[in-house]
Symmetry: C2
Subunit: 259 residues, 2 copies
């Protein structure tokens, strides 16, 4: 019996959700003025407090700009939002994963991971080496349970970012992890190869132990290539298969440049 906590959403959460979807999926172009708070209350049938809480959050997320007395307008989230928004961008309305966004996540991951490993090797404490060993040992023990491996791999990288003593990496990792967990189930086959490459994880841990920054970075880079290759293939396959179904769905500003 697999039970999980029931989802509970407050009104302001629902309002936030609804408005952010409208903005992110392009139904409200940047510059568009939002209805006034009182008008939103009428439309959404909620009290003004709920609307204001949602608007404040949208403002913090960089999706809208609120001006006392002067109305509220939609911003261009690509220029003002930050990494938090990835979770929302990762899924279409129908719940399927946006592979373009997924590719972005994988590319960023591939760029950061080697540097995280490098810094971790240079700055790790003795105790952290032991913790890494424990995680790698646990991975070896659960070699055939992909789901468990995925959790352990996340733990592995979490540890490395802590070792790196780089707060920017830690925070970025938190954000990426949320996105990552969202598409985890959808991409098990893509990540399977990477997760099973226990030797690579071991090489990283070993390099960290000997304070070999370059070695750790190279091993991490090699490990990342599994997932990167997988997502690229998936993307290529999907693009050729959907080109005939829906052509020109995205505003493709003349991208034939790859001749």
């Amino acid at each position: 019996m697999r039970l999980k906590p029931v989802a509970r959403k407050s009104l302001s959460d629902a309002v936030f959700e609804q408005l952010s979807q409208e903005i992110v999926h392009g139904r409200m172009r940047p510059g568009t003025p939002l209805p006034s708070e009182r008008a939103l209350c009428d439309v959404l049938r909620v009290n003004r407090g709920a609307v204001r809480e949602a608007l404040k959050r949208l403002s913090q997320a960089g999706l809208i700009a609120i001006q006392h007395g002067g109305g509220t307008r939609v911003l261009d989230f690509k220029q003002t939002a930050s990494l938090d928004l990835l979770n929302r961008l990762l899924f279409h309305h129908d719940g399927t994963v946006d592979l373009r966004v997924a590719r972005s996540v994988m590319e960023m991951r591939a760029a950061m991971a080697p540097d995280i490993a490098r810094l971790a090797a240079l700055r790790r404490s003795p105790g952290q080496v032991l913790q890494l060993d424990e995680v790698v040992a646990a991975m070896a023990a659960q070699e055939h349970d992909l789901l468990a491996l995925q959790v352990l791999a996340l733990q592995f990288w979490d540890l490395l970012t802590v070792c790196s003593e780089n707060i920017a990496y830690q925070l970025a990792f938190n954000g990426l992890r949320h996105s990552y967990e969202g598409m985890r189930e959808a991409l098990v086959e893509v990540m399977g190869e990477e997760l099973r490459d226990l030797a690579a994880y071991r090489r990283i841990a070993e390099a960290v132990r000997r304070r070999d920054g370059e070695g750790a970075g190279q091993s991490a880079q090699a490990l990342m290539q599994h997932g990167s290759r997988g997502i690229l293939q998936l993307l290529a396959a999907l693009e050729t298969s959907t080109d005939q179904q829906e052509e020109g769905e995205e505003d493709e500003d003349d991208d034939d440049p790859r001749t």
Copy 2:
């Protein structure tokens, strides 16, 4: 006469500011229960709506967890917050820059920039090449105005991230830019050398024009080293100079508990 828009803060902004500072700067440890909303109203002398708006934002930022009926408690922001928080972490209470955080930003920047340049070279459109040329030309024209160069450099990187067609990089760049602009004035001497290396920017733009991903990446990596070297020197100088003033300020938990 240099005038700028006057800062205007709403009550909920002030409450958010105050509570987030308390949490981020460690006066409220993770797990600590927050006073109830009504109690906060009494202490802060504001109405409950203002408090609730602030709490909702803190929750979204990953600093607290709110539970209907069950109270509100402080989270460990290093595990739950995302990149937005960098702006707040970058400064101590007294307004001086936290160089450890600044170093983190520079390291992340150095890891991402080469990959951004690489992808930009592979995916840029013809029009974007022209835009890059314009920015580089503008930089050449303002070669002696460091402040103008800084703005143009940001514009240069903004363009590259757009060229890279990687939404994760774009969003991360937005967040980093905020942090970056915060310490801009404090770090002009650190960045001066990098900003004046016009030849490097030109090399990147050229590589992007010829779709030379590797070349663009290498040029970007070389460019980043200016700033990285600068911040490292600054940090080393400052650490040796303050070691006698305040020793052991950081909680160095020599973690070898698993012996």
